[in-house]
């Protein structure tokens, strides 16, 4: 190892650089789209808890237990090798041949499967964070909004959820960062994200140390940017409302 010759240009120039940058783009796209899907599903899972029909709540609870207690790798391989071939042949072919939706080209079926897997997996955790946030809202808030004549959904929307989100936001940011850190698993179904491209550089010129070190730094930078962005986008803590120095 003492004769190892560090050559950062083996990663940061020419074809390897193109691969690396392409990988960064795919990782960011995969993370953002999975986060959006996970958020949507998490809100639906939370809403099921408030449907005045008990089995809806059980469905949400069962769904969450299933997806948070099985490995993401297994889920991703299940969707890709298990569920995808079960789709109707026409749809499968359309997905394989560069699918088009409403005139826009969709990502590959591998990418779509990765977004789907990451989204479903992460939604289970986000939904639990949101539920904890709802439970942190004092019961008096429910009583008050009901006493004003609001029914459940408007009460949730205007009074309970904004407060729940403020309580739940710090752990939710953790979950969004986990989406980024779980995204390399997509290389197991041949999504050419950052880790996939890093492996490719290592196989290409055997500069593994430089390649993996560079990938680590890139993940770190994306993660720092994402957490900064989410902290800015998120709601202010409730007790700091209106206090200029409280943030």
């Amino acid at each position: 190892m003492k004769h190892y010759h560090f050559d950062w240009s083996a990663v940061w120039s020419g074809q390897p650089l193109t691969w690396l940058l392409h990988g960064v783009g795919v990782t960011m796209l995969l993370t953002v789209l999975s986060c959006l899907l996970a958020s949507l599903l998490a809100v639906i899972l939370l809403a099921l808890r408030f449907v005045p029909w008990r089995p809806a709540g059980w469905l949400a609870a069962g769904w969450i237990q299933l997806f948070r207690n099985t490995p993401l790798t297994v889920q991703m391989l299940f969707w890709y090798f298990g569920a995808l071939p079960l789709l109707p042949e026409g749809l499968r072919n359309a997905l394989a041949n560069g699918p088009i939706l409403l005139g826009l080209p969709l990502p590959s079926s591998e990418m779509l499967t990765a977004i789907w897997s990451l989204g479903l997996f992460s939604a289970a955790f986000l939904a639990e964070d949101l539920r904890a946030g709802v439970r942190a809202v004092p019961f008096g808030q429910w009583e008050t909004v009901r006493s004003q004549g609001f029914s459940t959904w408007p009460a949730l929307r205007h009074v309970i959820l904004p407060q729940a989100l403020a309580h739940a936001w710090p752990p939710m940011v953790n979950q969004y960062l986990n989406v980024l850190k779980n995204s390399p698993l997509a290389m197991s179904i041949a999504v050419a994200e950052l880790m996939y491209q890093t492996n490719q550089i290592e196989s290409f010129n055997f500069h593994g140390i430089e390649a993996y070190a560079s990938a680590s730094v890139l993940y770190l930078l994306i993660g720092l940017a994402l957490s900064q962005l989410l902290q800015r986008l998120g709601p202010a803590p409730l007790h700091d409302k209106g206090v200029p120095h409280g943030r």
């Binding site: 004092p138 008096g140 008050t144 909004v145 004549g149 029914s151 009074v159 407060q163 409302k241 209106g242």
Partner: protein, 250 residues
């Protein structure tokens, strides 16, 4: 306006309301008093069904609050409710706290709802606090905003559940002053309170409750001069001289 007919309720095996018969007229100011745990809060919370009763009937405007033809949310919009803990919405500023129900329930425009809110804030003496958040207000200020919020939909009934019990003593006055201004303006007021000075001055009638039963109903003059029920006498003695308590109960 509000009528209780043989209303009973239990928490487990503990009766909290027993055979309550009570009639409150339109525009009347009724103070409900009694020792803690006597069922006062449950009594007024059952009017807008924050608590459900086990037996009997509660009528508002001659119609049972449980009548299937009646919308509970419509009923609640006509009844302003004030909580001991104020319960302002902490994520909304003062103006938005007041305008939430008018805008989202009554379909008022933002401009109309805010104009009314500004007038209400003036009425409770907090014109300069429109943009403040609840966390930056004192308890007395929060409760006055809560009063403005309760008035925003122009309710015909106001229910106050110990509105000053969570306040520091020096803030009790500012809240009671605002409540006094609401009395005898056409709105029916039902106030659960230990503020006997307020009761004496403002109430048309005092209802004394103990162990879930109404033991006495009287005008303030009669009630404070000489309550007829011994339990009410003892209660008043304890309020006026707490140190006398142990002797009074022996």
């Amino acid at each position: 306006m509000i009528q209780f007919k043989k209303v009973s309720k239990q928490f487990g095996t503990v009766p909290v309301l027993q055979d309550i018969d009570l009639h409150i007229a339109t525009g009347e100011v009724v103070v409900i008093c009694g020792p803690s745990g006597s069922g006062k809060s449950t009594l007024i919370r059952s009017i807008n069904r924050l608590e459900e009763i086990d037996a009997g009937e509660i009528l508002v405007d001659g119609l049972s609050v449980h009548d299937p033809s009646r919308s509970l949310n419509a009923l609640r919009r006509e009844i302003g409710f004030l909580f001991q803990q104020f319960n302002l919405y902490p994520h909304l500023n003062v103006l938005d706290n007041i305008t939430l129900a008018p805008r989202r329930l009554a379909g008022q425009s933002r401009a109309a709802a805010e104009a009314r809110a500004v007038a209400l804030l003036e009425q409770v003496g907090l014109s300069e606090k429109q943009a403040a958040f609840p966390a930056n207000l004192s308890g007395g200020q929060q409760q006055r905003v809560a009063i403005a919020r309760a008035l925003a939909l122009s309710p015909r009934i106001l229910l106050f559940d110990e509105p000053t019990s969570a306040l520091d003593p020096e803030m009790v006055g500012e809240v009671l002053t605002v409540i006094r201004q609401l009395a005898h303006q056409g709105i029916t007021l039902v106030v659960v309170t230990h503020e006997m000075g307020f009761a004496r001055e403002v109430a048309d009638r005092i209802v004394f409750v103990d162990k879930g039963r109404i033991l006495e109903q009287a005008t303030p003059a009669a009630f404070f001069r000489q309550p007829s029920h011994p339990r009410a006498r003892q209660f008043l003695q304890q309020l006026t001289s707490p140190l006398h308590l142990s002797e009074a109960s022996t």
